[in-house]
Structure formats: structure tokens, C-alpha cells
């Protein structure tokens, strides 16, 4: 009986797994269909005359390369900033006890609950006052202080023994050196996980760029795609190709760093 059960489970698992990626596959397949075939009824499953014309159109439309580069620039810089400031904060919360540490830490975590769209208007005002409106720095700096990142770093650094820090202190190392030359190298696994996460968050982010940017030259890829989705008329040919192009970077990163991803989520799942 057990053998039967496991066979059924195996089959069910495979079917489910395929169902899970089916929407993505369908979008990818569709993106290679020429305009006429895209709306053919009944639909063709495999493109009869596969073409990259949608991709060429998408690249020519608006400033696609620009959007792509903007996204890349913003995601990279913001990730670097996140790594530095989140690991600093995580270190402080993990290895020091100071007045208000718990309160500040939990307030950080609690901001996960604030829906950005609710404070969109005041955020916009603050951004404008600081001269960050329509500047890519306005998408790089504000989202870099991620609560999840601080949490990840803290949870990991707690597991690093205090003795290492104590002995470095006795040897006369400055606090900054201890952090930079001892803690960070030891925290490499979690830093890798956070790098991947942060890049993915920033690459996929829609709200911050949506609030901060109105100049079309500075659109990120997500804002560009969202703007492409009109209510009444949708240019599906280019839209599908754009969407596939927008998926590619994160999917590649995922395939390379799959293990780190899983580890990162596992750490987040630990109780506080």
C-alpha cells in the first residue's frame, strides 16, 4: 500500500509542479507568436511561425533599454546600501544591549505592516522637499532600510559566539574593525542571501518608483510595464515580450543561487 501511496504522491507532485509554472510558460510561448497568431481563435499552442518581432517591437517602443538599465542601476546600488546599513543595524541588535534596543528593533519589524500606498501622499511631499523627486536616488535610498534585512542579519549574527568579539576587543581592535573584518566575513552566508533578496525586491518593486518617478526617461521596467497596461487598450505583443524580459534577471539569479534563497527564507521563518 505504501508503495502505491508514494507513487500517487509522486505523480500528483509532478502535475502540481507543472501547473505552477504553466502560466509563466504560456506567457513565454505567447511572446514568440506574431501579432496575428496571438489572437487566433482557436489559439495555437506552439507558435506556428515563431518570431522575435515582439521583442524587437518592445525594445523599440518607448525606451525599453533605458528602463532596463534604470532598473539594473537602482537595484544594484540600493542592494549595496541595504547590505551595509542592514548588517550594521543587525550587528548592533545582535551583539549589544542598549537603552531602547528592543523597542527600536520591534518598531523596525512593525513597519512591515505599513502599506506604502496609504502614506503615498506624504511620502511624495517628503521626497519632493528633499529634492529626490524624479531622481533615481529617490528609489535607491528610501527602500534600502528593509526591516526584513535587519531581521535576517540579527538572527544570523546572534549565532556567532560573543567570545570572538571579546577577544578582538582585548587585542585593541576598534569597533568598526571588529564589525568590518570579523563579523562581516563570518556572516557571509546571510549576506549572500540578503544580496539576492534585496536585488529581487528592488528589481520587482513597483510602488516606490511609481511614487517617486514621473519622468518617463527615469522609469524602471516595472513602472513601464504597468503604464503599458491601459484599461481599454492593451498592446499585448510588446507587453508579453516586456514581461518576459523583466522576468529573466531574477530567474537567472534564482537558478544560480537557489540554495541561498532557501536558506534566507528559512532564517526569516525562525521565531524571534
Amino acid at each position: 500500500m505504501n508503495r502505491w501511496v508514494s507513487r500517487v504522491l509522486q505523480a500528483a507532485g509532478l502535475v502540481l509542479a507543472v501547473i505552477f509554472v504553466l502560466p509563466v510558460i504560456w506567457v513565454v510561448i505567447s511572446s514568440f507568436k506574431p501579432g496575428t497568431e496571438l489572437f487566433a481563435w482557436p489559439p495555437t499552442f506552439w507558435p506556428k511561425s515563431a518570431t522575435v518581432s515582439n521583442y524587437i517591437d518592445a525594445l523599440n517602443k518607448g525606451n525599453f533599454e533605458r528602463y532596463f538599465l534604470n532598473s539594473l542601476y537602482v537595484s544594484t546600488l540600493s542592494t549595496i546600501l541595504t547590505l551595509v546599513i542592514n548588517s550594521m543595524a543587525g550587528y548592533a541588535f545582535a551583539k549589544f544591549s542598549f537603552k531602547g534596543d528592543r523597542l527600536i528593533f520591534y518598531t523596525f519589524i512593525a513597519t512591515l505592516m505599513v502599506p506604502l500606498q496609504v502614506i503615498m501622499v506624504p511620502i511624495f511631499l517628503v521626497i519632493r522637499r528633499l529634492g529626490l523627486y524624479n531622481s533615481l536616488w529617490g528609489i535607491i535610498i528610501p527602500p534600502a532600510a528593509t526591516p526584513t534585512g535587519v531581521f535576517l542579519m540579527r538572527q544570523y549574527m546572534i549565532t556567532i559566539p560573543d567570545e570572538i568579539i571579546e577577544s578582538a576587543r582585548i587585542d585593541g581592535a576598534s569597533e568598526w574593525r571588529i564589525f568590518w573584518l570579523i563579523m562581516l566575513p563570518l556572516a557571509k552566508p546571510v549576506l549572500t542571501a540578503l544580496t539576492i533578496f534585496s536585488f529581487m525586491w528592488r528589481w520587482n518593486d513597483f510602488l516606490w518608483p511609481f511614487i517617486v518617478i514621473s519622468n518617463e526617461q527615469k522609469y524602471t521596467i516595472q513602472v513601464a510595464i504597468a503604464n503599458f497596461v491601459g484599461q481599454f487598450y492593451v498592446d499585448w505583443n510588446s507587453l508579453l515580450a516586456m514581461s518576459v524580459l523583466a522576468m529573466i534577471p531574477v530567474l537567472i539569479i534564482f537558478l544560480i543561487f537557489q540554495r541561498h534563497f532557501m536558506k534566507g527564507i528559512a532564517i526569516t521563518g525562525l521565531k524571534m
Partner: protein, 256 residues
């Protein structure tokens, strides 16, 4: 760690994070809260109106409709995501063949941006060109206007949300499952417990901490949902709003 000099150091370490967070989250939140007691057209000075804005929202029917929709959304998405992600985790935790591949497949949707998910599902559930309607028609049904009929649109949004998140929480459960010592199951087996009993008596109780994290994070995410619904149903230029999170935008009030 007790000297005076050391007491200042942790504050310096958290400083950059705190500053960004104060400037871009706390200040706007307080500012928005203050503005919610005023009438303000962005150009002239805000006029204090007390709780007037709140009275007008609480007496508007659209506010209660969006609130109701939000509750329906959250109360379906959270339990569904919980059950689906736990089932997926149990499935890929067993030592079946191709389990690594399955994990990756289940995780793929979690990698996609809400905008891309919106586009993809719109394409699949399109009225005249969607593959779902094609199958419905082919097997003798009447095509459904999935994204423009409120009830059906809610269903699609719910399915898309569960699909998009299950993989992420699956990994959390997986970590939780792997933290349960094998000895418990061995002991249960010796005592003659069935697989079903093992699940209810060992797995589920010991997964409690993970379950809590999953439920909390998933509820927060569901209450905040915005971009997915916007791209899935109307596009940023549209006016329709299906859930409270998205409803704030057309409401135009910085109210909390």
C-alpha cells in the same frame, strides 16, 4: 560592553537605518495622520476640519464595500495560502524523485513581480483571447468576463495571490519540517501510529512557531496588497478598486 564609549557605539551602528526609516516612513506616516484632519487641495494651506474626513469616509458606502472586499480577500487568501504551502512543503519534504526540481517549480511564481504576475494572469484570463475562456467554450460553456465581473475578478485575484506566495511559505515550512527530530516519528511508528496520526500529533504541533510566522506575514501581505490588484484588474490608469489597499488611491485621502 559596559564602558561609556561602548554605550554610544550601537546607536552609531543603527543610525543610517534609523535615519532613512524616520525620514521616509515615520515622518510621512505622522504627516499623513495630521493631514487626515484637514481639508487640503495640495496647493493652498490645509484647513483643519477635525474628524470630518473620517465621518465622510465612514458614511460613504464605497468605503464599507472596499472594507468588506478586503476582509473577504484576506480571510480567503491567508488560510488558502497556509494550507497550500504546507501541503507543498509536505510533498517536497518526502524523499521522492525530482523533489529539487519540484521545489524550484513551486518557487518560480514567488520570484515574479506583481506587475508581471498581473500581466500574465490578464493574458490567461482575457475575455476574448484568454486560454481559459477558450477551454470553457470548447467544452460547451459560456465564456466568462473574468476580470470585469466583480465576483469572478475577486476569485482570479485570490488564485493569483495564493499562486504567487505559496512557494515562499513552502520554503519556510520546509525549514520547519526539517527541524523536527526524526526520532519522534520513529517512536510513533513503534507505537503503531498511522501517518495521519503522526501528522496531527507530531508534525502540526511542532510546526506551531513556523505556522505563526507564516500566518502573520501572510496576513500583513494580504492587507497591504496593491500592485497585484492594480495591474490585474484595471491598470494604473483605471479607476476600479477591488480591495481596500488599492482603494486608498482613488480615495485620495491620506487617511489611516
Amino acid at each position: 560592553m559596559k564602558s561609556k564609549r561602548l554605550q554610544l557605539i550601537p546607536y552609531l551602528f543603527i543610525l543610517p537605518n534609523v535615519v532613512i526609516f524616520l525620514v521616509f516612513v515615520v515622518v510621512p506616516a505622522l504627516y499623513g495622520f495630521a493631514l487626515s484632519f484637514t481639508r487640503w487641495d495640495v496647493i493652498s494651506e490645509p484647513v483643519f476640519v477635525g474628524v470630518g474626513n473620517y465621518i465622510s469616509i465612514f458614511t460613504s458606502s464605497s468605503f464599507w464595500e472596499t472594507t468588506q472586499r478586503t476582509l473577504v480577500y484576506v480571510l480567503t487568501v491567508v488560510p488558502l495560502t497556509y494550507v497550500v504551502s504546507l501541503l507543498l512543503a509536505l510533498l517536497v519534504d518526502s524523499n521522492m524523485r525530482l523533489r529539487t526540481l519540484m521545489r524550484a517549480f513551486f518557487y518560480v511564481p514567488a520570484m515574479l513581480s506583481a506587475v508581471v504576475i498581473g500581466v500574465s494572469w490578464r493574458w490567461i484570463f482575457g475575455d476574448y483571447f484568454g486560454i481559459i475562456n477558450y477551454f470553457i467554450e470548447r467544452y460547451g460553456g459560456t465564456p466568462i468576463n473574468w476580470l470585469t465581473t466583480p465576483g469572478w475578478a475577486m476569485l482570479v485575484v485570490i488564485l493569483a495571490s495564493v499562486w504567487a506566495r505559496a512557494g515562499y511559505y513552502m520554503v519556510m515550512f520546509l525549514a520547519g519540517l526539517q527541524g523536527i527530530p526524526e526520532v519522534y516519528y520513529e517512536a510513533a511508528k513503534i507505537d503503531g501510529a498511522s501517518r495521519w496520526q503522526q501528522f496531527w500529533r507530531i508534525t502540526l504541533p511542532l510546526l506551531k512557531p513556523t505556522s505563526l510566522v507564516v500566518l502573520v506575514l501572510c496576513s500583513i501581505e494580504s492587507f497591504k496588497v496593491f500592485d497585484l490588484i492594480v495591474t490585474l484588474t484595471t491598470g494604473v490608469t483605471g479607476t476600479g478598486n477591488h480591495v481596500l489597499g488599492a482603494g486608498y488611491l482613488p480615495l485620495g485621502l491620506p487617511a489611516r
